[in-house]
């Protein structure tokens, strides 16, 4: 494992993208910052630009309007970047599969840009904050194999 990846594990910076979520996943993502969960103790913080991000936390069903913007955000993020598809919507469009304003699912949208993208799925509607922390721990394992 390169020193770069060893260091990356200690300070994963997260950029949060809402591509059409109902807010539930988003308030649970914000909840991670607050005293009960406090992910900053693992070196993770929410950052303001995808260019600073090591993790893209994507929530929501990826509507047609948000689709090209999500691809642009992925292009802007420095690689390697781990995409967390948070919630049932981001994982498989959930209850909105048949709705008319859906783009492609989050994983397909990102694979259209980069076929080898690292994507972790966090199922649940919404997933509990503990599940999101578990997903990041799994992302560490992926970084180990790089």
């Amino acid at each position: 494992m390169a020193v770069k990846h060893w260091a990356l594990k200690k300070s994963l910076w997260v950029y949060h993208v809402n591509t059409g979520a109902c807010n539930n996943c988003d308030i649970e993502v914000l909840d991670l910052l607050t005293p009960r969960f406090d992910i900053e103790r693992f070196g993770m913080i929410l950052v303001g630009s995808p260019r600073h991000a090591d993790v893209l936390a994507v929530t929501g069903t990826c509507t047609r309007q948000a689709m090209p913007r999500l691809q642009e955000l992925y292009r802007q993020a420095a690689k390697p970047v781990v995409v967390l598809a948070i919630g049932s919507c981001a994982g498989a469009q959930g209850i909105f599969t048949e709705a008319y304003h859906m783009g492609s699912p989050v994983d397909e949208t990102i694979r259209a840009v980069d076929p080898n993208a690292i994507i972790a799925y966090v199922p649940g509607c919404p997933p509990k904050p503990e599940a999101m922390i578990a997903a990041v721990v799994k992302a560490w394992d992926v970084i180990d194999t790089l």
Partner: protein, 394 residues
């Protein structure tokens, strides 16, 4: 010479949890116009509902907005119950009241936290969210989930609560009264917050009425409207409680109304838990006859309004949702114009806009070159710097 600049806020920025896009037109430091762009979050829920059966729709409308996920299904089931002339059992009405008031506490504390963050008071953000956690625990006790409750059902509620569960909810709500009271006093007594929030983003009574402002936005401007009192549903007419409102219409008034409502919600929960009768929780509904009806509920942000039409089949023929943010967002036209840019972040946040409900957005760009001038993070920085400046002066 006047030079108009456009400032984009959004669509993706790190501080608001949703995709929203405002365009502010500014002349120097003053905002002269504001525009909202929409559709990043549009999911076509009304159309989707037409392909679901009446019993499935509550689970879809719950996902209109994750923060109002008790209010939307309740408004929908009230409309359907009106079509089918269902008499909902007394116990179910009380259970609905308890879940709705827990939701109000969690939503208002969430807003107080975010407002504190926008002003550069991160301690308020951390504290408000810390005291919100026990309420989420209470909701988990009551319904099995922290934020999507799946509680409402046509004719009643889906889950009963045991006496132990009710006691636990009572305990968690009662314990949160002290911290919320402390937050309320901290906000009301803080001289910096007075300087930052008083006479900022004023929405006059006439404007509030003209734009049809609802919920805390209207109540902060001296309109004492509240669906819970004006057209009682659930068990609100069986419990003693009061509507809080303020006359001044500024951001401070809206914050005060929300905090006082949070305290009132704790009292409503305590009274509901003590007064809850026994019995059935569900009137068995066989079929939905043809007809149309509306249901409305006082969500944390204001009145949410659902219209349902049935043709006698299993599926609603038309379902229209009007979320409170739809009324409240246009009030920016009255409250933002004439403000300093540094005050815009908190004015926009003051109505607690919910874009997944309404699917709307807003941004700001140089009108001549088309270049983006500020993003929302910079606006929040300006806002936080102003607080620092005032704090030094005081």
């Amino acid at each position: 010479m006047s030079h108009k600049t456009m400032i984009n806020i959004g669509p993706f920025h790190p501080l608001q949890e949703e995709a929203e896009f405002f365009q502010l037109y500014v002349d120097g430091e003053r905002v002269v116009d504001v525009d909202v762009r929409i559709s990043y979050n549009h999911r076509g829920i009304e159309k989707l509902d037409e392909s679901k059966t009446f019993d499935q729709v509550p689970f879809v409308v719950e996902r209109v907005c994750g923060i109002c996920s008790a209010s939307h299904p309740l408004a929908y089931v009230q409309a359907v119950e009106d079509i089918a002339h269902v008499q909902v059992p007394e116990r179910a009405l009380y259970l609905r009241t308890i879940v709705n008031e827990l939701e109000r506490i969690h939503s208002h504390l969430l807003w107080v936290g975010l407002a504190g963050h926008f002003l550069g008071y991160n301690t308020v953000f951390m504290w408000a969210w810390k005291y919100r956690e026990p309420i989420l625990d209470a909701l988990e006790v009551a319904t099995g989930s922290r934020v999507n409750y799946a509680n409402c059902k046509i004719g009643g509620v889906r889950r009963d609560m045991t006496d132990e569960q009710l006691k636990e909810i009572d305990r968690l709500a009662t314990e949160s009264y002290g911290p919320v009271e402390m937050l309320t006093k901290a906000v009301i007594d803080d001289p910096v917050l007075h300087a930052r929030l008083k006479n900022v983003g004023v929405l006059s009574k006439a404007d509030a009425r003209a734009y049809g402002a609802t919920g805390p936005t209207g109540r902060g401007s001296g309109l004492p409207i509240d669906v819970r009192r004006d057209d009682p549903y659930a068990a609100y007419d069986r419990i003693d409680w009061q509507v809080h409102y303020e006359e001044s219409g500024d951001v401070f008034a809206k914050a005060k109304v929300r905090l006082l409502e949070t305290l009132e919600a704790v009292k409503i929960i305590q009274r509901a838990v003590r007064a809850i009768p026994g019995g059935e929780i569900d009137a068995k509904v066989q079929n939905i006859p043809p007809g149309e009806a509306v249901g409305h509920v006082e969500a944390p942000r204001g009145e949410t309004f659902h219209y349902v039409r049935s043709d006698g089949s299993n599926y609603p023929v038309r379902h229209k949702v009007r979320a409170p943010s739809f009324n409240n967002i246009p009030t920016f036209k009255a409250s933002c114009i004439g403000q300093e840019i540094a005050d815009v972040a908190i004015t926009l946040a003051s109505v607690d806009p919910c874009y997944s409900c309404t699917e709307r957005m807003c941004a700001a760009v140089d009108a001549e070159s088309g270049r983006r001038m500020f993003d929302f993070a910079q606006l929040v920085k300006l806002s936080q710097e102003k607080t620092q400046r005032l704090r030094r002066q005081l």
